[in-house]
């Protein structure tokens, strides 16, 4: 302990409060003997002089508080959040954007769809076969389906495709419709036939392709398959299609 004139007051406070050890007390007393002005200061020290608390009114107390979330509520909130995320993920996985998008019986027919090459072709097949027809009214980028046909070609509206003569019999048509129809509401109109065939194409593409191949030939089948929305399947499964239908 090094007592000097700079820190003696700190020791005097401890001395007055009685918190010093015997050794420290002796050192303080010997310092006071040598420096009597501090003894006089010690005599003035009076710890009985106390500040008194004044009534303080603080009105902003409630503004400082925060809402308390009870533990069980936290659990409920957490579980709710997890359930919401799970439902969202489930929905995303159920709705496969990449392949076979139509899985329900209810189908909304966009007027644009009825003007697609598929519709045109089907209608033309129904009405005028066997004839030479324009296969597509829109440019269609065609990918090859085998290694020997890797070159990309584009068919334009001006490009005419010759559809081979097809033996179109009412029996085959009715068989096709019966096999591929997913609803009972089948009319005899060409428009409804078109809808049904498009639906068949989206729901059961292999069967559809199989049936259509017999009518219109492989190139047109490729175009149809591409147009009805499973382009990726066609690209990815080109070999499979070729193998299945012996293109």
């Amino acid at each position: 302990m090094n007592i000097n004139k700079e820190n003696i007051e700190a020791y005097l406070l401890d001395y007055a409060e009685g918190t010093l050890s015997v050794q420290q007390k002796k050192e303080v007393e010997s310092f006071l003997a040598l420096n009597p002005e501090f003894r006089e200061m010690l005599s003035l020290y009076d710890d009985s002089i106390k500040l008194e608390e004044e009534p303080i009114i603080f009105t902003g107390k409630e503004d400082l508080k925060h809402a308390v979330i009870l533990p069980w509520k936290k659990i409920v909130y957490t579980l709710s959040s997890l359930a919401a995320v799970a439902l969202l993920l489930l929905g995303l996985f159920r709705f496969d954007f990449t392949s076979e998008p139509m899985k329900t019986n209810s189908i909304v027919v966009n007027p644009v769809i009825s003007k697609t090459p598929v519709a045109n072709i089907v209608e033309e097949i129904d009405e005028t076969m066997p004839q030479t027809k324009t296969a597509s009214s829109q440019p269609i980028k065609q990918e090859s389906v085998s290694d020997s046909q890797r070159q990309e070609t584009t068919s334009t509206p001006s490009q005419q495709e010759t559809i081979e003569p097809i033996h179109h019999t009412p029996e085959i048509e009715s068989n096709l419709l019966a096999e591929n129809t997913s609803t009972q509401e089948v009319s005899n109109t060409n428009k409804m036939d078109t809808i049904i065939i498009i639906r068949s194409a989206t729901e059961r593409p292999e069967t559809f392709v199989d049936k259509m191949e017999r009518y219109v030939g492989e190139r047109t089948v490729n175009n149809i398959a591409r147009t009805v929305g499973f382009v990726q399947n066609v690209t990815r499964g080109a070999k499979e299609i070729k193998k299945s239908f012996k293109f």
């Binding site: 820190n7 003035l44 020290y45 002089i49 008194e52 603080f58 902003g60 400082l64 508080k65 979330i69």
Partner: protein, 157 residues
């Protein structure tokens, strides 16, 4: 510290922090702002502050904010606010000792307030006012001697 413990701190300590700052600054609006900022800091740091240390944390924060506020006021040379700080020195409606405390210098006053009114240990006061424990003791000793001297002078008159 949980939300509930924080709210308990508001109940138990807000008026004490307010009182401490008001005794030094004597400016209601400024003190209210500082109390709000102090508790906002406590709320933001509640995960790191144990309930046992909340009082000390609050006073450290409040004291630092007060020092910054005083420095800012001096820098901006806003005489009105600084006059407000020390305007309430009238003897009326005050306990004699409380009145005499106003005559002490800032360090003595802070240390004495924290010791006598808030009951902090010398070590805690040292951390709040950013002094050594020895300096805190010196300030408190001198404050009490000064108060005694002033009381003696008043008695003589």
């Amino acid at each position: 510290m949980s939300e509930r413990e924080y709210n308990n701190c508001v109940d138990e300590l807000s008026h004490r922090v307010y009182g401490y700052l008001y005794k030094i600054l004597k400016h209601k609006e400024t003190v209210e702002d500082l109390v709000q900022d102090s508790f906002l800091t406590l709320w933001q740091q509640r995960q790191n502050v144990h309930i046992d240390k909340a009082k000390s944390f609050l006073f450290v924060t409040a004291h630092n904010l007060m020092i910054n506020n005083i420095k800012y006021s001096i820098l901006r040379s806003t005489p009105t606010q600084m006059e407000d700080v020390y305007q309430d020195n009238s003897f009326e409606n005050k306990n004699l000792v409380n009145y005499l405390v106003e005559q002490l210098n800032k360090n003595m006053k802070e240390c004495l307030l924290l010791r006598d009114l808030e009951g902090f240990s010398y070590k805690e006061i040292a951390s709040i006012v950013n002094l050594t424990e020895e300096n805190v003791k010196v300030n408190i000793f001198r404050a009490r001697v000064k108060l005694k001297q002033m009381l003696n002078e008043i008695e003589k008159q």
